[in-house]
Amino acid sequence: MLEIRWHSRAGQGAVTGAKGLADVISTTGKHVQAFAFYGSAKRGAAMTAYNRVDDEIIMNHEKYMQPDYVFVIDPALVYTSDVTVNGKEDTKYIITTHMNREELIQSQPKLEGKEIYTVDCITIANETIGRPIPNTPMLGAFMKISQMYDIEFFKESMKRILKKLPQKIIDANMIAIQRAYDEVK
């Protein structure tokens, strides 16, 4: 079982990202689950979304999770919420930030000793899609770190999932995914 927790703000696309990832993985024959805690459901409020992936049908519906990966798609959330909660020793963290790993850990000592990867999804989204929607870049970064799928296969799959959007936006998302894949450290 692969388990992922997303830290996001409502409106940044974590639910869409989690469902999109589940959709891509499902086409490869694996079983998936994507859900979220909405809390007060106000735009901008901190929220979490979740993915489970397994070879067997997923029957566990508990909200409690010890994630294998933590995605943080808003840079401020590493300070205002505990992104390490219920973490395991080998949990991997992919964090949106303009800082490098050392600066990030210095600014948030809780991350010391964790396996941290950084990528500036907000800037990438702003410069490609034109809006600070960091969900698809995060998935590009995840493909690099996890080596789950070949990036070209992943981009083709995402084109299908985004097919209802204008072509310009789809193209921009592909560039964003590739940039995050290339830039994550």
């Binding site: 989690a18 469902k19 589940a22 959709d23 499902s26 079983h31 998936v32 689950q33 994507a34 859900f35 979220a36 909405y38 459901a41 997923i58 029957m59 566990n60 519906h61 508990e62 909200k63 409690y64």
Partner: protein, 407 residues
């Protein structure tokens, strides 16, 4: 036909709400009369979108309240159409009066009830208090444990509810958020197969049949009220279970997916068992398997048909078990939980002498974790080993503060 068909993949990643909306589209519902409420809103939104995109030929009636939503469904069903809606929690509470009208008037309507806590305090998250509130309303009630089942049970609900020997409205329950907003793989039927299962709607005593005028919603007073209610109950007890069997069998033939009034998992040699509903059934199944690796013969019983309650099937499923926990996701307000009572009733006049304990859990969406269930199975095993209940008959799982136990 005047509407477009939709191409679906064999497996779609859908949440429970979208799965239900797709089922309403494929059943080609004629009228959806609805008022939005979290977490059920995406079901009727989905139908409205399908309609505006020409994927259904039907009417979407926007109303000012849930009371009016069900009233609209009653009018449309009496007129002779295939009718459905969706609601949750406070919406169902406001709808309650009209639910009894629908069942008393013997109108086939499918209501997707996305289970949510009842205020106060206000909470949009999932528990079964709305399901429990209307359990005596005369509606058939099915319970889905995951998005796949929310999809499947809608077709079964139309099939049973619209049968001319039945004509009783049906509720399809799914857990708010835990099913309604959780995306998982759903095996789909193509549009023709799905519609073929429910078939073209055949009205009966429809008000738009001007050649055969009928009266709906009459006043009977003492003279005939009791006979109407007795007939309604008789049909629930005597006719509906068989019709559900037929629908389950036909659905299995079509899809390979088998449903039962009572779902038993790992029960053949079980010493201890948990009885519950909703997503908890699946989580408990996973924990039961893990308990077996540790040597505890654990099983799970899920209630699929909440009404008519499968009294005999529950007794049969539990007859060889030593200790059973009844898990109720609704505050019982000064009594034992509903499942505790139903199970106790089902077993009382049998030779089965198992140890039954009741647990209240998960109110307002409180997480039922695997760790809770491990502890629960261990508690049941301790009861079984001791040959008597080591706890009080009613306890709470997962509530903060001092341990609560009663009875």
């Amino acid at each position: 036909m005047a509407f477009d068909k939709m191409e679906l993949n064999d497996i779609e990643v859908w949440d429970g709400n979208y799965a239900a909306a797709q089922a309403l589209r494929q059943a080609q519902v004629d009228v959806v009369s609805a008022y939005p409420i979290t977490p059920s809103t995406p079901i009727v939104e989905g139908y409205a979108k399908f309609k505006s995109d020409n994927f259904v030929e039907g009417e979407f009636v926007m109303v000012e309240s849930e009371h009016a939503a069900m009233s609209g469904c009653i009018g449309a069903a009496a007129a002779g159409g295939r009718v459905a809606t969706a609601t949750s929690s406070q919406g169902l509470a406001l709808m309650a009066e009209t639910l009894y009208q629908a069942s008393g008037m013997r109108l086939p309507i499918v209501l997707n009830l996305v289970n949510r806590a009842l205020a106060a305090p206000l909470n949009v998250n999932g528990d079964h208090s709305d399901m429990y509130m209307v359990r005596d309303s005369g509606w058939i009630q099915f319970d889905a444990y995951c998005p796949q089942e929310a999809y499947d049970l809608n077709f079964i609900a139309f099939k049973v509810s619209e049968d001319h020997d039945v004509r009783i409205p049906a509720i399809v329950n799914q857990d708010g958020f835990m099913t309604s907003h959780t995306a998982q793989g759903v095996h789909t039927m193509d549009d023709d197969t799905a519609f073929g299962f429910v078939g073209v709607y055949k009205p009966m005593n429809d008000m738009l049949d001007f050649e055969h005028p009928v009266t709906h919603g009459v006043q009977t007073e003492e003279d005939w009220h009791f006979e109407h209610k007795a007939r309604q109950h008789n049909d629930m007890m005597s006719i509906v279970p068989g019709k559900i069997d037929e629908a389950f069998a036909e659905f299995e033939k079509l899809t390979g997916r088998k449903y039962n009034h009572v779902e038993s998992y790992d029960m053949d040699d079980a010493d201890v068992a948990v009885v519950c509903m909703g997503t908890s059934v699946e989580t408990a199944r996973e924990v039961a398997k893990e308990m077996r690796e540790k040597g505890v013969k654990a099983g799970v019983v899920g209630i699929r048909v909440v009404r008519p309650f499968p009294f005999m099937a529950v007794a049969e499923a539990l007859k060889d078990v030593k200790a059973v926990a009844a898990l109720d996701r609704s505050a019982p307000g000064g009594a034992a939980g509903m499942l505790f009572n139903e199970i106790a009733g089902a077993l009382f006049n049998t030779d089965t002498k198992l140890l039954l304990s009741g647990y209240i859990y998960g109110l307002g969406g409180r997480d039922l974790t695997k760790a809770h269930l491990v502890e629960l199975y261990n508690e049941l095993q301790a009861n079984a080993d001791a040959g008597k209940l080591l706890t009080q008959q009613q306890q709470f799982i997962g509530v903060r503060g001092p341990k609560l136990a009663y009875l």
